[in-house]
Symmetry: C2
Subunit: 366 residues, 2 copies
């Protein structure tokens, strides 16, 4: 990998200072020392980060393009992130906005194994938008969660995931919960004669996740959900690789640091490392993403990029049934709408509300 | 673990809205759904987060104390962070400021194995402040890095670490670099008749790190450096546990998201999970930490906290030799001053500058 990585930062600085600030940033994210300490000419020429362009985006805000030597960041996800935004994450005037990678990276990382079309194939839903829901609250025992899954699935929800707060707690151990929910889902699928999927939340150290993945395989499940920023990008990538044949769903927990652009992190990078689908908060719910952020994120997940399969955008976060039309108009049909809490609040009418949700999504654009 | 975790957030809100905002935050970081969806009384009583106190810290800024059920966060580092700041990291009005844990957590996580006294024992330096430096720039071959280590060690630097940008690159593979630097260090130690330590940067997936740890052990080294926020907290903790007898140094790469207080993340939590020493940017260098942030971070690393050993503060980030007196006056002697770039810029006088650095530190307070 001899080509250069092009990184775009947004930097706050006075116009008179931006050139020096950009230069310092290029050094921080490459050799990280005074140039006086760099005596080898080859390192000065090739390894030191280079400022390629500076463009104003406001009176005291600039877009700065820096090129980094790909030799400094082998195709190891943690080291790539380290080189893109390791130390400069501690400098509050900098935001990591975008990255263009030489083709060797997408080839090495591989991206989604199944992607949108793979998920559609598993669900037998080639065109319509998809539906998802979440099992919560935490504190429920496995059988209670299984009961919720069963009732949601009877309403035809395509994918039912563990809430990201549900991990491997004493009140609902992974080894007990996953088989219980899987059984409930099989029964509901048999009743409806349709494929519906359950995504357990796989978490902990790489060792923990591999033990959990064994259970997922034993239950014949097709999907897992992980939190890449908490389990570590390298471990996320490794699990995504090892989860051969499984759909990998990425959850944005802890990904909210405001200084990595969400479309880059949740859209582009998670996809690069193997996310078949990426969950993110849709605007207008409990989170602060703007419509522009959501649009950019969905675009980054789905658009043509090297040979990587498209990744499914999964807007979530306080969506209610009455927003379905609005969301499908916004995202089109290559999307999964994830409605958790507002469905569960339906109580005894859970299956009916789930059925209304899935019917509305299915009828859109017919 | 039946007691509650007390989490302190700083929240931006208008006075008329803070009560509702705090309540929403307590729900977000616990059951994460409308209370109408929480039908079991026991979950409402015990699992739902509770707002314990709200205190103003500015006109539109409040300190909010929320208690969470420890049942929701077993002693697994990733899940703990997930419960403390998973989804709310995506809400820009919230900062994670502090956490008080029931005693079962420190007991389960264990904290530093060796801590400050263990590091002092390895160096035969029971009282004085310690000195550190870094091998850089990246791009150098193993023998060149080994040469720098040798010349720094001849100047008496206690601990020499890989730059955090040096990982397992083709120009300096871990398996070639670590033995080369270790040999150079052994030779310098023999010349000086003193113990000096080399800390290789261990990175990648948990599998990668274990392979690297084998090399570290084979070379008889005493220290490793890791980036907890990049390798994942659970994997950091696991490696810290498996690195039996080794000093574990934590590096702040990617830890700079402004919305987790640095004293909490780099001081308290890294220590909790096994950091014997924690590197952070000292104020006045290339980073934006204030004196108050640095003081709070050093305090969090060193103060009495349950039965955990103290963790050594390692201020770094653009420190020059002429600031030694200032830094030692600020931190006292339970500290390691890390001077990298400004020493390396000395070129041919590297050993002399290193000797001046170590002599100045040794003479302080004599």
């Amino acid at each position: 990998m001899s080509e250069r990585i092009i990184v775009t930062y947004q930097v706050a600085a006075a116009p008179a200072e931006i050139a020096a600030r950009a230069e310092a940033l290029a050094i921080e994210q490459s050799v990280e020392c005074p140039l006086a300490a760099v005596t080898e000419q080859q390192i000065r020429d090739e390894i030191v980060g280079r400022v390629e362009a500076i463009a104003p985006i406001g009176e005291t805000r600039f877009s700065v393009r820096v090129s980094l030597a790909s030799a400094t960041a082998p195709a190891e996800p943690g080291q790539l992130l380290n080189m893109l935004f390791g130390n400069s994450s501690i400098q509050p005037d900098v935001t990591l906005a975008d990255v263009e990678l030489p083709p060797a990276y997408p080839a090495a990382f591989g991206g989604p194994k199944l992607g949108i079309s793979g998920l559609r194939a598993k669900l037998g839903a080639p065109r319509r938008a998809l539906t998802g829901s979440a099992l919560k609250p935490q504190g429920l025992a496995p059988e209670a969660l299984a009961g919720l899954a069963h009732r949601l699935a009877l309403g035809g929800v395509d994918l039912i995931k563990d809430d990201h707060g549900i991990a491997d707690q004493a009140f609902s151990p992974f080894a007990a919960r996953v088989p219980a929910v899987a059984r409930a889902m099989r029964e509901a699928c048999a009743v409806r004669g349709a494929a519906m999927l359950y995504a357990p939340h796989v978490s902990g150290s790489l060792d923990d996740m591999r033990r959990q993945l064994d259970i997922v395989r034993r239950e014949g499940l097709s999907v897992v959900m992980l939190m890449p920023m908490i389990v570590g990008l390298a471990n996320f990538h490794l699990i995504a690789k090892e989860a051969e044949g499984l759909i990998v769903l990425a959850h944005p927990s802890l990904a909210g640091a405001q200084r990595i652009a969400p479309d880059l992190l949740l859209g582009k990078l998670f996809r690069l490392l193997g996310a078949d689908a990426t969950i993110f908060p849709h605007y207008g719910g409990r989170f602060a993403y703007t419509p522009e952020t959501c649009r950019a994120l969905a675009d980054a997940a789905r658009r043509d990029w090297h040979d990587l399969k498209p990744c499914l955008p999964v807007p979530a976060g306080g969506i209610a049934i009455d927003r379905i039309k609005e969301l499908l108009a916004f995202y089109g049909t290559d999307v999964m709408l994830l409605i958790g809490g507002s469905l569960l609040a339906a109580g005894e009418q859970l299956t009916e509300h789930a059925a209304r949700f899935t019917a509305e999504v299915a009828s859109h654009g017919q």
